[in-house]
């Protein structure tokens, strides 16, 4: 069975005044039908760039796709015509971004925006509904997200809502369409833990109900633990490790993943580890070979010259590290 989404050896860079920023360096990612996959990494490791490449919303220039393919149901998104991509975005793909205030239009009411989306996605599939039916569907979509008093919210502007409610509106927008794949880019990073808990549970329910596939992007490890089946760890524009979420948490293999897992403060109260020395490399002049080698404690001569491919380790886990070359 071919996967729903298949990103192969994707390299994306940005041409800026200072030179060429090589951000994504051979990203590999697959996502099956109905699967929930997490993508974890630090700030600036290229998570959002990956999502934007999949949606094809990167501004070009300055962005440039240096190589690779993104297959959605066997068709390469990067080679599609503009029209086709638009249809894809209307019908198949949907996204929730980090800051709902940025993704909602401040000068239109929630109702107007939601109605537009419902109308558009229905229009693309050839159905026609009356205004009343559309409004009813919007209210239903808001209700599904657990929004109190959806009728009133429809006539509110985004600034009149709290952060959690705005994010609920975004979720309602994303899931009111017929979308098959949800790209959630740090959907709860700006929210408090209690609100985060509510939003994630609701998202979990809705996704389960509609059988949507999810690519969950976050830097919070606790969030992916609960919500995803499989996990990718990303560092400086490359995937360093892939595996079933629980296994990966129980025994991270890549030195970077190990450092990352150790740095999370635990409720068991055994103190905080020192984290990983150094910081994410400058993309103008990234280190040759494995991009993690300047910060790695197991660095070997080969790490400085060759980029490690994803080695297959036992039970379907993949690690991009020469330590696991068999």
């Amino acid at each position: 069975m071919s996967p729903l989404l298949d990103v192969r050896d994707l390299s994306v860079g940005f041409k800026i005044f200072e030179g060429y920023l090589s951000v994504l360096n051979g990203v590999e990612l697959t996502l099956g039908e109905g699967e929930r996959v997490g993508l974890v990494g630090e700030t600036g490791c290229g998570k959002t760039t990956t999502v934007k490449s999949i949606l094809r919303v990167l501004p070009m220039p300055p962005a440039r796709i240096a190589g690779g393919e993104i297959f959605y149901r066997g068709k390469d998104i990067l080679k599609m015509k503009r029209r086709e991509v638009q249809t894809l975005r209307r019908m198949e793909l949907t996204a929730i971004f980090q800051d709902p205030l940025m993704s909602l239009n401040p000068v239109f009411t929630v109702g107007t925006q939601l109605r537009d989306i419902v109308k558009d996605s229905l229009g693309a599939s050839g159905k026609k509904l009356t205004k009343k039916q559309i409004t009813a569907r919007c209210i239903e979509a808001l209700k599904e997200t657990g929004m109190p008093d959806p009728e009133r919210i429809m006539s509110n502007y985004p600034i009149q809502l709290s952060g959690g409610m705005r994010q609920r509106v975004c979720i309602a927008e994303a899931l009111s369409t017929t979308a098959q794949l949800l790209l959630a880019d740090e959907p709860t990073t700006n929210l408090d833990v209690t609100i985060q808990d509510q939003i994630l549970r609701k998202l979990d329910e809705l996704v389960e109900e509609k059988n949507t596939s999810v690519l969950m992007i976050t830097h919070s490890l606790g969030v992916v633990m609960d919500l995803t089946q499989r996990l990718y760890i990303m560092y400086a524009g490359t995937m360093v490790e892939e595996g079933q979420t629980e296994e990966l948490f129980a025994s991270p293999l890549h030195p970077y993943s190990q450092g990352l897992m150790k740095s999370v403060p635990k409720l068991t109260g055994e103190g905080v580890s020192d984290g990983i020395p150094g910081r994410i490399p400058n993309y103008l002049d990234p280190p040759a070979g494995c991009r993690f080698h300047p910060r790695c404690e197991h660095t070997m001569p080969i790490c400085q010259t060759e980029k490690p491919p994803l080695f297959n380790v036992e039970n379907g886990r993949h690690v991009a590290c020469f330590l696991y070359r068999s």
Binding site: I195, M225, S263, V264
Partner: protein, 346 residues
């Protein structure tokens, strides 16, 4: 109790707005012992930062008193003595905006030295070098750099060095690591802990990250809508949370391992959002989201009750335990766990 460095007594800070008075901090009392780390935890809008800002003097309190080393410091920042300003320092959340981008690190660090006359002009350079060495940044490499040229973690190190330049005894840490990645956070936290040991500092640590507090604080205080809900020593707090809000917060923490999951209280579905501070619910301000709400909660505001060694909570569920505990104490029976009783009823 050893000596108390800071006492916040019935502190109130109200902000008049067009839509009504915002009760940012409403009648909170707590004390901080020398050398400890007290964690002030709450959601955004709960008044954590306003509390810190009242202590440092950015806002004069509307009512109530703040005592620092036995003296009242409730006046505005401009009226405070320099000695006092030297003794209480603050580290802000976002080092990107709290460090002047047009000044080099050497210039940034020399400001407190000049203002507080910590060192003579001749000694400035050596003092700056020793400050940078203290926060584990190689002085010669970093001194002439500008904030934009260094990473977020390093910037926060500089901000910490700046706070420690005047040799303070109380440092307010206002979410010092929440703008940083986890892999950087560890280093900063460990450095702060080491400095606390070396320099005998007292920390008022403001954060929304309870897992971090488990590892750092000696006591934890939970704030909700300008009021304190529960204060307890850290170990007790995580083993035996009493206030429904605390339980809700604890069960909402995303965790990464099974051992941690076992430590969380049974799942309490979090619901509702923090209400607007202009329109605080009557009675107990948490009753609109509480899972164990009773009739009286909407009318009467509960008071702080001590239910264990240094463990106080503000909830109607525990209002009678105070009486029970005092009777038991009189009878000479050591109250093992006075919490069990009301929990069974709930």
């Amino acid at each position: 109790m050893t000596d108390t460095i800071l006492v916040v007594d019935k502190l109130k800070k109200y902000f008049p707005t067009k839509r009504g008075t915002v009760k940012a901090v409403d009648n909170i009392s707590f004390s901080v012992t020398t050398g400890e780390t007290i964690g002030l935890v709450g959601e955004s809008g709960s008044g954590k930062t306003t509390t810190a800002q009242c202590v440092i003097g950015i806002y004069p309190p509307t009512d109530g008193e703040i005592l620092f080393k036995g003296q009242t410091i409730s006046e505005a920042f401009s009226k405070r003595s320099k000695a006092l300003k030297r003794d209480i320092r603050i580290v802000f959340q976002d080092p990107g905006s709290s460090l002047n981008p047009k000044r080099s690190i050497k210039q940034i660090l020399s400001v407190p030295l000049k203002v507080h006359r910590v060192a003579t002009k001749k000694d400035h350079l050596t003092k700056i070098k020793s400050l940078l060495a203290m926060v584990e940044l190689p002085p010669d490499e970093y001194m002439y750099k500008y904030p934009q040229a260094i990473g977020g973690g390093e910037k926060q190190m500089v901000a910490i060095a700046r706070a420690l330049a005047t040799d303070p005894s109380l440092v307010l840490l206002d979410e010092p690591t929440s703008a940083l990645d986890v892999s950087v956070q560890g280093k900063i936290i460990n450095l702060l802990m080491k400095l606390q040991q070396d320099l005998n500092l007292t920390y008022l640590f403001i954060t929304h990250d309870l897992s971090l507090m488990r590892n750092v604080a000696s006591r934890v205080a939970i704030m909700y809508l300008g009021k304190l809900c529960e204060i307890a020593p850290t170990v007790e707090f995580f083993q035996n949370p009493t206030h429904p809000y605390t339980k809700m917060l604890l069960s909402a923490i995303p965790v990464v391992s099974q051992e941690e999951k076992a430590l969380k209280p049974t799942k309490i579905a979090s619901r509702g959002e923090i209400p607007s501070p202009v329109n605080v619910p009557s009675g107990c301000s948490f009753h609109s989201r509480c899972s164990e709400k009773m009739d009286m909660c909407a009318q009467d505001d509960p008071v702080m009750v001590e239910i264990g060694e240094g463990h106080v909570t503000r909830c109607h569920l525990y209002q009678d335990t105070k009486v029970a505990a005092s009777i038991e104490q009189e009878e000479g029976v050591h109250a093992q766990d006075p919490v069990d009783q009301p929990r069974g009823d709930g």
